[in-house]
Symmetry: D2
Subunit: 133 residues, 4 copies
Amino acid sequence: MATTRQLQLTVRYAETDAQGIVHHANYLVWFEEGRSDYLRQIDLNYTRFEKSGYFVVVADASVRYRAPAYYEDLVTIETTLEQAKGKTLKFSYRALRDTVLLAEGSTVHVVLGGPERRPTTLPDSLRKALVDS
Amino acid sequence: MATTRQLQLTVRYAETDAQGIVHHANYLVWFEEGRSDYLRQIDLNYTRFEKSGYFVVVADASVRYRAPAYYEDLVTIETTLEQAKGKTLKFSYRALRDTVLLAEGSTVHVVLGGPERRPTTLPDSLRKALVDS
Amino acid sequence: MATTRQLQLTVRYAETDAQGIVHHANYLVWFEEGRSDYLRQIDLNYTRFEKSGYFVVVADASVRYRAPAYYEDLVTIETTLEQAKGKTLKFSYRALRDTVLLAEGSTVHVVLGGPERRPTTLPDSLRKALVDS
Amino acid sequence: MATTRQLQLTVRYAETDAQGIVHHANYLVWFEEGRSDYLRQIDLNYTRFEKSGYFVVVADASVRYRAPAYYEDLVTIETTLEQAKGKTLKFSYRALRDTVLLAEGSTVHVVLGGPERRPTTLPDSLRKALVDS
């Protein structure tokens, strides 16, 4: 557990706001892409996972903003799997421009399954892929 | 045909960009909400429509930008149904701040249905609701 | 202190994601609009405030997601000013569909001013408007 | 003139909508990033350009949607400079997943300069960089 993986992105013009900096809601989108890329890197294709009837929904998210990011900045998203047990997953994130910490945060996720999409224990395929990552 | 209906909105901070004005992609979102509201006003609930297995997808969109919009501006979206026949719908739009034309545009939509979501003639429920609007 | 004010919004199609529900990052945008509307209701026009050289930036944000929201849902954002002292402001939020709690959260803000946009004690005009609200 | 340059991107979850496909407004964001990357490739740093007091605003945009894009799709944006003369620039775009054309479109831009940000003839630094690209 506690493996960290990295995703790089370039700040889009549409992500800036009238303060001339990246709008704060975009960090949740970046963290989600860090998480998506983490899952792709361990060969856990989320698209196939959803097609098999499971969904992972966000239960909790928090961000601490440390320094502004600007249009065209090259940003690294570091994603760490902190916990995967029972019905929940927890990830933490750091967004960096070179060595400057732009923001850090965490998300908690609940696995939903079945016809009524109720909270469900992590299916084995997901748990194994995560634990072995 | 050619009825026009109005929706009002207040510009969100997240809709601005580093030029200090509304980012140009947001007008397509506003036009979509103008269209959604138009359908709600004629009692054509799009949510129920989708649940019955039909989807309306955007085939074509164009916008001409006339004047910038700013955070907190009160904007009126005027939506006009221009055409509803065969498999396609056409709407036109104007975005105004008081009497200032901010942008105008149009969209063309195709109705999809069936298990493979292929282009389909407008179902009667939709066509009647639109023609009588 | 601890006055609560309400903003109503209708869920936009563009705010939904492939799970068929509102994407979680949009709650930060909604909370921001709750906050903007709160300030407008107490006659604290943020646009004028920014033009006088002060900026309020988000330092911290957190959201707990309770129930999914869907396209066309009518959502109420309840915004509460929790604290306004020194260089920081704190707001809390609840998003509701009728009596269903969709999400709750909070944000902490720092006031920036001066040519280098450094953290600054709340200017009197802002502090008074907030304390008297 | 008419050089074409390519940008690759992976579809983000936040870019999908309740139809399970990429929301149509995002193509304008992708085209903008194709354009930004085009300018970076010819060493025309738009950030520096804006700092020197010039802005390029979108005057016109159109998109024809050909096939849906899905979460995690690898998309190539092909950007072509079609025209750069007087006060305007014109670009065209194609979005592809492998050989599948997802969408194509074009944008027209006007150069603004001076204290009142009025339409201005392309400054030499910009014109040369573009013509020689």
